[in-house]
Symmetry: C2
Subunit: 128 residues, 2 copies
DNA sequence: CTATGTGCAAAGGGTTTGCAAGTAG
DNA sequence: CTACTTGCAAACCCTTTGCACATAG
C-alpha cells in the first residue's frame, strides 16, 4: 500500500473526526487541503483503508455509508430526528449471542439502532 | 388504502414466501400472474405495506432490500457464501439491551449478521 | 522501471418520482 | 365523482469503474 498524500488525508480526516462522516463529508473536508482530489479517489481510499482494518464502515439503512475510526469495538445508534450517529457498547457481545442461538459461525454483523437523542428529546416541541 | 389486485398479489407473494424475497424477486413472481404490473408499482406497494406494518423490510448492506412477513419478531443472518437469509431469535431483546446501555429511547433497529450457513459449511472445499 | 494510485467522467444498480390514464369505493 | 393507484420512463443518489496520465518506491 503506497503512502500517497490523498490516502493520508482521507485517513487523518476520519481518524480526527468525532462525527462519523460520510464519503462526501470526507471529500469536502479533504478538498479544503487538496482542492484537486476527486470523489472517486476518496471512495477508493476508504475502501482500501476499511479492507486493511484501519477504518470501519457503518452501513445505515436509507443513508449513505458512514465511516469511523478503529477505536474499541462499539455499536451505533442513529437519531431519527437529527440523523446524527451515536456510539453504544453492548454488555454482551452480539456475535456470541447470535452464535449461541443459531449454531452458525458468525463472521461479522451490521447493527444500527434508531433512537431519539438527548438533544432532540429536549428540544422537540409537543407532538402527538 | 384501496384493495387493488396488484397490492393483493404483492402482499400474498411475500406472505407465502419462505425466502425473504427482494423487490425484484417479488416483481418476477407477481408478473407470472399479472404480466403488466410494473416494478414501480411493486416498490410503491411494498412501501405502503411496510408503513402499515403488514410487512417488514430487511436492509442488508451491499444487497438490495429484502422483505419478510410479520411473523414473531426475529433477526436475520446472511450467509456470506450463498447470500441466503436465515432467521434467528435472540434470547434478550436488543432494544432493551441498547436502551439500558445508552439511556436513550430506542425506536427501532436494523441488524444483519454475516454467517456461514450449514450447507455452505458442509460443501465448501478446503480453503486456507 | 513497474506497480500502484489519481482525476475525470461515464456507467451501474437499486429505488423513487412526475405524469397522464385507469380504477376503487 | 374523487381520491387513490397504476404503468411507463425518466430521474435520483450513492458508489464503482475504465482509461490515460502521474507518482511512489
Amino acid at each position: 500500500m503506497n503512502r500517497t498524500k490523498q490516502r493520508q488525508l482521507v485517513y487523518e480526516m476520519v481518524q480526527n473526526s468525532f462525527s462519523h462522516p460520510t464519503a462526501d463529508d470526507i471529500f469536502q473536508s479533504v478538498r479544503a487541503e487538496m482542492p484537486n482530489i476527486s470523489l472517486g479517489t476518496v471512495y477508493r481510499n476508504l475502501g482500501v483503508l476499511v479492507d486493511m482494518g484501519m477504518l470501519r464502515k457503518i452501513a445505515v439503512p436509507g443513508q449513505p455509508d458512514h465511516f469511523d475510526r478503529m477505536s474499541e469495538w462499539h455499536d451505533h445508534m442513529v437519531c431519527e430526528k437529527c440523523g446524527r450517529l451515536f456510539d453504544v457498547k453492548l454488555e454482551h457481545s452480539l456475535p456470541e449471542q447470535l452464535a449461541e442461538r443459531s449454531g452458525m459461525q458468525i463472521t461479522g454483523y451490521s447493527l444500527v439502532a434508531n433512537c431519539i437523542c438527548p438533544d432532540c428529546a429536549a428540544h422537540t416541541t409537543f407532538q402527538m
